[in-house]
């Protein structure tokens, strides 16, 4: 957003960090326990780990780049 205040990208970053962290964490638990949800395909690809990780990294980039008080 143009002007002062918290940019929308910061909110998005926060949300991605939270979501990515939760999904990545679940993926690790799933991997370590070997207990995969019934009925879900391609669990061998461990999508929660790499997808959750990607979301979290993207979120961190946005949070850092657009944190409040950061000049443009």
């Amino acid at each position: 957003m143009h002007g002062s205040g918290i940019p929308i990208w910061f909110f998005i970053g926060v949300l991605l960090v939270i979501y990515g962290g939760l999904i990545f964490g679940y993926g690790l638990v799933e991997l370590s326990s070997g207990a995969y949800p019934a009925g879900v395909e391609l669990t061998n690809l461990h999508a929660p780990i790499w997808w959750g990780g990607t979301l979290a990294i993207l979120g961190v980039v946005y949070v850092v780049k657009f944190r409040p008080g950061q000049s443009k």
């Binding site: 143009h2 002007g3 929308i8 979501y19 939760l22 999904i23 993926g27 949800p37």
Partner: protein
Amino acid sequence: MYGLVPFTHAASSLGSLPAMLAFSTEPLAHLRTLDIAVIAIYFAMVIWIGFYLQRRSNTSEEFFMAGREMTAWIAGLSFVSANLGSLELMGWAGSAYQYGILATNWYWIGAIPAMVFLGLMMMPFYYVSKTHSVPGYLGLRYGKHASIVAAISFAVEMILMSGVNMFAMAVVMKVVLGWDLNFSIIVSSVAVAAYVGLGGLRSAIFNEVLQFVLIWGGALLVPILGLVQSGGWTGLKAKIVVNMTSLTGVRPDSYFHIWRDTGSFAANPMGVHWTGIVFGLGFAISFGYWTTDFLVVQRVLAAHNLRAARMAPIIGSFFKMAVPFIVILPGLLGLVLLQNPDGSRRQLVGEDVVNSCVAPTSGGPVAEQAKCSAAMASTTLSDDYKQKVLNGAPGMELHSYNQALPLMMVRYLGPGLLGLGITALIAGFMSGMAGNVSAFSTVWTYDIYKPLFNNKGSDSHYVLVGRLSILIGVAVSIGAAYLVMHAHGIMDYVQALFSIFIAPLFAVIIFGMFWKRASSLAGFLGLLIGIIFSASLFMWVKLDPAALAHVALSPDAKPMAENVYRGLWAFIFSALVIIVVSLVTKARPDNELEGLVYGATVLPKEEPVPFYKSEWAWAGLVGIIFIALNVIFW
């Protein structure tokens, strides 16, 4: 929010939503704690944004126009996101399952040229006139009468659409998750009223951008994993050809071509002709929607300068071209990947068939065997498959085309990821409602309340009216949602309002913007008579389905073709009214048209920028990609 869907597909798919309540006693998905947490965090975030933005929404310019300080990126993403609702995602995934990538035309030729035209040619007039709304522009160009007709039509349509959206969300949540209808309606309406009422348009735009990211984050994984499992694009095509060879009356490879088989209505699964796609969809309907529908145009009007306003639709068009990857592709993948518990290919069917084959809640054979058999006779299900359905074999219940996307999500998304996918759907619904309500609030305050009831109020008075109109709008939407719930037939008509209105409105605006001779009376009559003409065509086909052959110019035309041709005829009719009336009435003098009409307006000079920041350069790139995509998927 329904974007281009209502013109064609959603009118039928949404009309059948109430029927979805009649079945699916067992929800498609079961959420775990992690999924619930993901959804709860989303609600907390949107409410937080609403409260945060409240203090920046004190003046009318801030509340209704987001302070006109959005960057091109935010305005562009919001512009395209306002059209990317959950029903659009689910509806078009279902369409892709039925018709193949022909449905992609609604994303490419049905959007891209119009978006670029809006940015390059029309935004200067919208922006320079400093109008708050599209009816506001009509008021400046043609006078009060045309503006009032447009404003009232638009306000009624927005509020009804919000109610339909609310109801549709409740139905989908019930079918997919088993949630209570009242719970979904109340939670979504309270959340929307809170964040739009607090933060105004800025809050709606923020949440649309958020929704856009969530949709990609939640839905992109499905086609990626689907392509992995199907052996890539080549493997998918090979499997579809094998599966579809014996099932349809058209060539199976028609599923991968967007133009090749549109030379005749009968040669493609959608039953449309290229003339309807190019002139009806690609011109009358697409330009009507993307350049005159205030719900989307309002997002661009919030840009912080003219260059940003021109760039916003062009930025949006890049993302629009990519949307088929998360909408059309999952539908195609569903054709070959969805399976029944016994390993056989799961075939989706129409809502009418599903509704005819309801099993008792306690399980067991289908209740009305004869009705179900008759309904299934029109499908390509095998006899063995039909018998299993009739017997109520475990896991063999029928699912509709519209459930292709949720079924694909359930197939690939485990805990957390499924919650993210569901959150994307909820976000799509809620931002749809928010878009409708925020646009209603602006049109009500500026184009109805101010000119008709009180034009001497203070700025804070109009902000208060805007906030109250949001609360009242949400309350009326809830009423509309329950009305639709109890009178299912009106849904078709509510959806049709939108498609009936848009082509005449486009004719009036495009002539008003590019033809100085267009007179005030011509604008008013062109809009009014055009709407009546368009509504008459709709009612003609509604009352006599055989009339479709006349409206769409072929006995082989299918319902998909009706709206594209109706839009085209309505545009042509309105254009003729405008031309004829203008030629026999007095035009406004040039000096009154400054800032409103091409040829009477000196556009502000924009500072020169390097080519990579020029909207013309980016529009050129959009054009190249657009042509390339159409050639590749010819």
